[in-house]
């Protein structure tokens, strides 16, 4: 394993030290692992998210004006613990209640649930929205359900904008829920990332093999297939999304790199996504192309499609100023 690290044990602490130095507008509690806005916004609904580390810039990179108030980064690919989420919740709370944005993984859901219970002991009202946009996993009440992946960014952005506008907790939660319900994602990996503590990649692929339907934790996908030209891969991903939620009207598209894939390839993927979507009579009204929710050094990409409404478009366009997303101010 070749990584730019001091040791597998210090990866997260070192990154948090870097985030703290790079972004003086954030307060980083390195010991307890909480990244929060340096200044509380009075009377605003607080937004908290968190999850395993290794997905940078998610979530710490989305803390700031117009988006999250605090983030709780766990160990690499491991959900944070309740105490930590509680601290983030306290940091985010200014009396108007706190929204927990939780990606749908058993560990995240359980740890956030416990934290919410602890917060209620503190008289902080917490509502949780669980994101589950990944169509690679079959959705069923008998299973753990779908994973939360790229759609989480959309949820954090529009919920953050709503809270910044002054919406109350229920409204913010309603908007977050709607953004999640209107978002779908699908990921394809060419090479698995390596968890520092594990020292070897999550899976091994032959030179011509790729994984279809991967999540964001270096796990294998729903099937293994052959490398194909980019337009076929993009078509595969969008077919899967379209089969679940027809792509129609104005859409937001995120072409997201897994961490080890260069931007030149992501722009190529976006070009194919636009061609596919326009070919299906819909319109790419908004977009993001880059590394927004990663899997360490994994090579691959995911596509997220959100069916926009006027409200979601307005909230997406609202000013945001965080380390990883910045516009309008």
């Amino acid at each position: 394993m070749k990584k730019l690290i001091n040791s597998p044990d210090t990866v997260i602490t070192d990154a948090l030290r870097g985030i703290a130095s790079a972004h003086p507008e954030l307060t980083v509690d390195i010991e307890n692992r909480v990244i929060a806005r340096a200044e509380k916004v009075p009377d605003k609904v607080g937004l908290v998210s968190g999850g395993g580390s290794g997905h940078e810039p998610l979530h710490g990179g989305y803390v700031g004006h117009g988006m999250l108030d605090a983030a709780a980064p766990g160990e690499v690919y491991t959900s944070p613990v309740p105490d930590q989420i509680l601290l983030a919740t306290q940091a985010a709370d200014s009396g108007a209640g706190v929204l927990h944005i939780v990606k749908n993984y058993t560990g995240d859901v359980l740890n956030f649930r416990m934290a919410a219970e602890l917060a209620e002991d503190d008289d902080i009202r917490v509502v949780s929205v669980v994101t589950n946009d990944d169509v690679a996993v079959e959705d069923s009440t008998f299973t753990a359900g779908r994973r939360g992946t790229g759609g989480t960014i959309v949820v954090e952005k529009v919920a953050g904008a709503a809270a910044t506008e002054g919406a109350d907790l229920d409204t913010v939660a309603r908007i977050a829920t709607e953004a999640n319900e209107r978002s779908r994602s699908f990921g394809i990996a060419l090479k698995a990332g390596t968890v520092p503590a594990a020292g070897k990649p999550g899976f091994e692929l032959a030179e011509d093999e790729i994984e279809f339907g991967v999540g964001i934790h270096g796990e294998p996908g729903r099937e293994r297939g052959k490398l194909a030209p980019l337009h076929e891969l993009v078509g595969y991903a969008l077919d899967a999304i379209h089969a679940d939620l027809p792509v129609d009207g104005d859409v937001l598209v995120i072409v997201n790199g897994h961490g080890g894939t260069p931007l030149i390839e992501l722009y190529g993927a976006f070009a194919e996504a636009v061609a596919w979507i326009e070919g299906h009579g819909a319109r790419v009204a908004r977009n993001l192309v880059g590394n927004y929710i990663t899997s360490l050094d994994q090579e691959g990409f995911s596509i997220t499609v959100t069916l926009l409404t006027d409200e979601l478009t307005r909230l997406w366009d609202a000013p945001v100023s965080t380390p990883a997303l910045r516009w309008g101010m």
Partner: protein, 208 residues
């Protein structure tokens, strides 16, 4: 034999030892059908549990288990942290101070119920429940038949082991392995494997 404070502490310490010795195996199992952190998670959590007990030694076996559970919850992360953590806390709350085999049996059952309730997993969902449930059943049965704690614990460990083996052909319906769909078939569930360690540790510390 009494499941007193000392034995409860010994149990937690022994689990920590067995987990530490098997970190790599648990991680390898979790790499195959999960995200490769179960070994590290539980090692971190059990270390926290052991540290919590060392810091302020609780006075009753129940408080030992509650303290251990809190340590697990506060440091493990992942799915297994809340599940085992809440499980031990529930066991601790159910544990009666007399510490006889019936009290322990009830505590183990409470632990199972807490795990099932929090995680919502059922029989054959390919989770720790598939090792934990038969282990508790075997403990209860052996305890009823022999009233001997060690015999019951050994029976429980064996049943957990069998439950672990039985997870191999299953397709996961809960936890990360469920994302793999049919590709989750053919592997042991990592959480079921760590449950085996919990019961093996119990057999070890009740040996004499």
């Amino acid at each position: 034999m009494i499941f007193d404070t000392q034995r409860a502490i010994a149990w937690i310490n022994r689990i920590a030892e067995l987990v530490r010795a098997d970190v790599e195996r648990l991680t390898t199992l979790d790499t195959a059908i999960g995200d490769g952190d179960h070994g590290a998670n539980l090692d971190r959590g059990m270390t926290a549990a052991v540290d919590a007990l060392a810091e302020k030694e609780p006075e009753t076996p129940g408080k030992v288990l509650i303290t251990a559970g809190r340590g697990l919850v506060s440091k493990t992360g992942g799915a297994s942290g809340p599940l085992y953590g809440s499980g031990f806390r529930a066991a601790g709350k159910a544990m009666r101070d007399e510490g006889d085999v019936v009290a322990l049996s009830d505590a183990l059952e409470a632990m199972l119920r807490a795990i099932e309730e929090l995680g919502g997993a059922h029989h054959e969902d390919k989770t720790m429940v598939d090792a934990f449930a038969p282990a508790v059943a075997a403990f209860q049965q052996a305890a009823g038949a022999t009233a001997d704690m060690h015999t019951a614990a050994v029976a429980a460990a064996e049943a957990a082991e069998a439950g672990l083996a039985a997870t191999v052909p299953l397709q996961a319906r809960k936890g990360r392995a469920s994302y793999l769909g049919p590709r989750s078939v053919g592997h042991e569930d990592p959480g079921a494997a760590s449950t085996v360690l919990i019961f093996r540790a119990l057999a070890d510390v009740t040996a004499e």
